[in-house]
Each structure stands twice: as C-alpha cells, then as structure tokens.
Amino acid sequence: MASATMAAGLSGSQIGRSPPRLEAREKVTGRAEYTHNLRLPAMLHGKVFRSTVAHGRIKSIDTTAAKAVPGVYRVVTAEDVIKVIPHPYYGPAFHDQPILAIGKVHYVGEPVAVVLAEDPHVAEAAAALIVADYEELPAVYDEVEAAENKILVHDELKPAGTFADLKHLKGVKGTNIALDFQLRKGDVEKAFAAATHVFEHEFRTQKVLHLPFEPFVSIADYKSNRLTLYTASQGPSFVRIEIARLLGWPENRVRVKVPFLGGGYGGKLYIKLEALVTALSMIAKRPVKISLPMEEAFYTITRHPMTFRIKSGVDADGRITARRCEVFWNGGGYADVGPRVTQKSGFTASGPYDIENVSIDSYALYTNQPPAGALRGFGVPQLVWAYESHTDMMARALKIDPLEFRRRNITREGGRHVTGTPLKDAPVDKVLEHVAARMNWTKPLDRGNGIIKRGRGLAIAIKAVISPTTSVAIVNVNADGSTTLYCGTIDMGQGSDTAMAQMVGEILNVPAESVNVVPRDTDVTPYDMGSLGSRSLFHMGHAVKLAAEEARDKIAALARDLGLPEGTNFSVADLFQKKYGMQAGNIVGTGVYKPDYVPPQAGTGLTPNVTPFWMVSGVGAEVEVDTETGHVRITRLINVCDIGKPINPKICESQISGAATMQLGFTMFEKMHFDGGQVTNASLADYKIPGLHDLPVTFENETIDAYQSNGPFGGKGVGEVATFCVSPAIGNAIDDAVGVRLMELPLNPEAVLRALLAKQNRPIEDA
C-alpha cells in the first residue's frame, strides 16, 4: 500500500478479522504451486523398490533385468549411495535410517533400490523386475513384546547428538528401547497402599497414517558445489541442516525450496525423500524427482500405535491420589521423531489432573513395522484416549457422575502441572464447564428403546507445546511502502501465511492482503525449527511481530532523521523519496524468538518451566448404538478448545473442525492392517478416511473466550488441539449407551458388536 501512512487508523484492525486465505484464488482456480506439479529440464523419475520382508539380511539384489529395460537410465542400490555419501544415515533423533537399506532391512516397504528413467512408467515397470534375496530374521511387531528385547531390531543405538536426553543411549546394544523417559513425583506405591480404591487398565491404539492428498514428493538438482531441493516439507531448515551434514557441506550450499503443501499433518517432517533424491541426483548428475504413489505413504511414516498401562488410586472422597503410567510407543523400524513424542507427550500422560503422587515411564520402541512419527498431536491423542477412558471407568465404578469426578480432580488455573510447571492460561475448568453446559449435562438424556440405545460422554485434555524451539523472521518495507515477509513457516493448509500477514499488517498499519509472504526458500527465508506441534503461530508469530516492530521503529527513526515531527502523516513512500531522492531503498526489521525453558531433571522429569504454552480442549459426544449391528451413529459432537485469542477466527474454526474430522477417522474406522509385517490395506479403497457422510449429525466447534498472556496478540497454536478428546468422548458415550467398554481403537461396528455379544456371554469365535 503505497498510500499507507504512519499514523493511519488501521492499527488494531488486522487481528481478529477473517480475511480469506491470501492464496485463496490460486487454490480455487487450480493454480496454486505444489512440488507435485514441478518439472525440471532433463529431470529423471525415480521408482523405489522396497523390501518384502519385515526383518532380514540382504543376501543379494539382482538388478540385471531392470537395467535391461529400454529407457532405464540407471538402477541404484546402497552400494552406489555409499560412493557419493559415505555415511548415509539420517534422522532427527537417531542417525539410524539409511538412504537405501544397507546390509539389513527392518520393515516391509523399506527402500532397497531405485530405478531412474525419464518416463515414470518405465521406471515402475523396471522396478518390478528387481529381485532381492533375504536371509529372513525373526521379527517383532508389538511394542510390549519389543520391550522384552528378545528380538532386536537394531544392533546398536545411534543417537543423533542433538538432544541431551538421548546421549546416554550412544552405542548401547541389546535393546529396542530408543528412549526411556521417567517422571517421578511423590511416592506412588505408598499412595496406592493408602488409597480406598485402586483401578488398573490397559489401553491400545492402532496404526494409522497422515495420508496428505499431495503424496510425498521431492526433487533434487545437484551441481558440483550446490544442491537445490524442491520438496513438500514441513521443515525446510531441518532439511537443509541434515542434508548439509550428510554431504559435509556448509548450510549455505544447500537450498531448499517449498511451495504450498497439499497437506502435511506431521507426515512431511524431517527427512522423507530428500536424502534419497539428493543421492540419486549426485549419482545421475541430473535432477531427480520421486513422487510416491499413495500406496507408498503406508511404508513411509505413520502414527505411533501405543499401549498404555494406567493405574490410579482414589481416596474415599473421590480424589485421585496416585497414578502410575507406563506407555509403550511403537516406533517402527526407524526412530524418526519417536523419542521426542515419547518424552514431549509422555510427560502429560497423567492428564490435566491434580495428583499428588505420579510415576510415568514412557518408552520409545523399535519394531519391525513402518516407522512412526508425529501426527497432529505428537502422541497426545493416543494418551488422552487412554487416560480419559480410564477416568470414566473409575467414575462409573465409584458411581460418581463423570463430570463431577473430573471437577473434583482437574488442575485449576494457578495450580501446577505434575512436572511442577505452573498451569498458566490453561483453563481446564473453563473448558470442562463449557462442554458440560453445551451438552445440557444436568438434563437427563433420552436413552432410546428397542435396538437403538443412546448415550453420551465427555473428555478433557491438556498438551504442552514442545520446547525450546526457535523462529526467525524478516520484514522488509519496500520503497513504495509495500511490505514483504520472509518466514520459514510452511502453509500446508493451516492458513499461517494469512495469520502472519495479519500480524505484520497490525504493526505496520497495512491490510493483511497487501503483505507479500515470500515462498519458502532457505536461500532467502531465515531459520525456523519447523511447522509442527502447533508451535508456529506462537513462535513464528512472536518473531514476525518483533521483526515488524523493528521495521516500524526504523521507519519512525527515518522520519526523525529527516527532521519530521513525531506522528507525521508523511507516507512511508514519501519518507523513502525524501531520503534517497527517488523511489529507492528498504527498511528491514528482523525478529528472533526462543522461549525460556528449564530442561526436566533426569530421572524425575520435573521442571518449573517445561513449555511456553498449554493447549486445552474438551469434547462432548452423543451417540446412538445399534445393538444388533454394533454400528455407532454420532448424533452430536461438540469440540471446545482454548486457542487464546484467534488471529483469524474463521480459519481457526476450520482448523478445529478439520482436526476433529481427522480424529473421527482415527477413532471410528481408520486402521492399517498387517499380515506378517505386510500392510494389507495400503490404498484408499481399503483404508477408509472420513468423507461427507461420516460427519456427526450435529457437529459443533467452539472456542472459549481467552487470551494467551505471553502469546503474540494473545494468540497460540490451533492445529492439534481439537484432536485430543474425540476418541475417549465417543468411547465413553458408547459405554454410557450400551454398557460395554472398548479398550482399543478403532471403535468400529465389529469391535462394538463383539463387545456387546461378549457381554451377553455369546462371544464371536475367531475363525
């Protein structure tokens, strides 16, 4: 806006409004840029040949027939990779994952070889002709079995060195445990002994995956002293650092460009195809693109299946006095970010409850399954499924209303989380009461009669944003007064570009729509830890705000230098004109944000400052259960979230309903099925995700009136918060309706019917 003036009345007008996404027109016209669409001159396509065994030593790989296919440029195995990258192991927590399998394969679907060809169909046909011979080894798939260390997935642990709490694992042999996080508060055993009631349950979650509709895709263009990656990544800064490390190069020779993402949800983090295409481009000396078909997403990254053993002691007044949590995370063949999930979610495993004595053991486990990583909630939705089902089971056993039982036990504002960190701006009670009010909890429910039975349930949860992480932003005010924002946050649909532009506009008194948010390019955009864990709006938001404020202050300083009075109505363009005698120059503001943090004490996990902000949500669900078929119809789903002050309320609302819908799939039907380590439903035909027909009859998504006191403009992250409580609220409602308790997800008709018949002493026999 060339006419924007310093004293214009726009200040305070950009936050809290809901402009459409800046890129809305490009998206509805099909012209938005995605890596999926990109082609480079002389580019080759790669087709991955994958392991067919879950655990085995590679005896031989016969590529003769593949090489003979007309149009095949090259067939690449680990032997070729090692010649260009001598130590080709990567990963955010452990350097355990090879670019192509070396010596051993660790899960069905692990990349073993790649065919390169100009025509992707040729590459695909040729890859089918590769024959690999394996000496099969016993495999372990279950996380609890893996913890027994009878079958070892890796010979030795190789922590990356990035995280202090993993260093003690370096070189450790004879174990599948890639992290054993502990939290100890009070004396759990003594409290159990003194408790009036003790409850112990075990819950499990299934393996599900992200399935972004833009499948995994990366392109590498290697030149002798320069590498450019075009990739659908949620974390270009990490990609640059990790690829530079693999190449032994300084960061500034690796350039990572990321346009819009066709969805991410945590799947497109860290290294997925980037290291592979880099090696292939080095070998081929041509640009190489790998675009995975959807089937291969099932072999790339998934959510952690989990087993959670939870035990609580309750006193005569219905107060929880002790809780022991043992959580086993099924990380698959490579650690990816699993050890972070294990710790950063693990410390919230006892829930939003004020419990005097707590013991948490959270284990990251290697198994012979496809790797697991972050998926919209970083482990918290799995934990909440367990602890909120457990909460309801205790309330029912004690004949205390589930709402009332929670009221007696939640941590309230001003209290402390079990880590010892104060719960500030974490309105657990407010969210719980809002859910109860919206559910008309005090009014009796029509329970139905005949074969359809009705029930209702609720759940409440808390999550801490991962910490400590850093964001850097640059705001550039051009000579005509227009503004440009450089920030590394990836807009994968969450609307971050728009929210960040609103923040720039708020400070510099320009409409958000006029701010140019530069496409992500690590040669241009500064460091950001990654678009993950609901961290961006808070961390990058702070950096953007600081950068815009610095630019604003420099504009004011320029006006002073030019001898203009305070509050002058000269436009920014006029100031540049006056200063340089023509339309010239820039004003650049920078902002860096890293929150304060105190690492947890080893052994106890206690710290006075574990996170800069908490996320709280609650769900109320009403269901109808068909007692003849086990089919569950969700008649009402109310998701109440604390998101601080919404920067763009409409986009926030869409984030909440979208997250709840995704979690509904993970709750009701999504499940990867396995047979001997082989995924047997690796396609949308066999792995159902939510469609329009699956929405609850009444689907409400609400935020409570809140302000995050240390957040930028009172805001905080929104991407995950609506996922937490969907599963247990529905599970609790099913129990309320028909008196059966499901201990494992998904809550599909088969599971419900089996439980109903088992209750009637007519269990369905397994074939």
Binding site: V28, G30, E214, S654, G658
Partner: protein
Amino acid sequence: MTTTRSIAFTLNGEQVSAQIASHHSLLEVVRNDFSLYGARESCGQGLCGCCTLIVDGRAVSGCLYLAAFADGAVVETIEYLDRDNMLDPVQEAFIEEGAFQCGFCTPGFVLMVRQLLDEHPDPDDDQIRDYLSGNLCRCGAYPEVIQAVKSAARKRRAGNPT
C-alpha cells in the same frame, strides 16, 4: 519403445491433439502435454476426486480415464472456469466460506459442485452428500464445503453473472 497414437479432442474450448501411449491416462496428458496442473493424482484409484476432469459434460476421474477414450471428446479442466479472469460462482463461494485448507482437492470439489448445481439448482443436504461422496478432503473442510455449495446455489439462482 512403446507405440504411440495421436488423439484429437477439444480442451478448454480449443482443438488440440496429442501423441499418447495406450496406458496414458487423460490426467497425465492434460498435465504433461498441456501444463494444466489443477487436476492432480492423489489416490490413483478414482476415489478421492483430486483428479476430476470434465469429459463431454460429465465429471470423471482423470487418473483412471484412459487418454485414448478422449479422442473426439470435449474436455474441460478447472483452468477453463476463469478463462475470462472471472471466477465461477462456485469458486467465489469456496473463497467466501473458506471451503478448503491445503487446496489440493479443491479443483475437484469445485468441478463436482458445478455438476451438482447444474442438475439440482437448489440441492438439499442429501443431494450434496450424494454428489460429493466421491470427493474426499483430508483437511476435513466439509462443513465449509456444504456452506459453499448452498451459497453458490443462491448466487446462481440470483443470476449473479460473476
């Protein structure tokens, strides 16, 4: 090498021809030969709707539609809608209602909603769900899509020329 053949068809109002192999999908042809990237392959099984193309007035899954069958057909892609730099009312409604997040599935939804409104100018919720059951959105922008359909229907009935 694979044998190829030539097909001629109308693409977004223009007569075009392409050299194709028998295994090429129409989706590949519009993307690779004509640089029209609004339709995308996602599931590769005709289940998600991301690859939606209009062939002789009907929405088809471009990833499954063999290019050879398009010989002589009239093919339209999402890019045809704003050929005069004017948005279709459905596109306007999608923007106003915020009926998408990542945008990858959006062109397919827009094309299918147009077909719905052509056949049912004032659709009820069942008709909306029925017509859009072949369009999936992993971001879950379904409530906003329903609002956008209703808003677009109102716009079209009002004869809004944009």
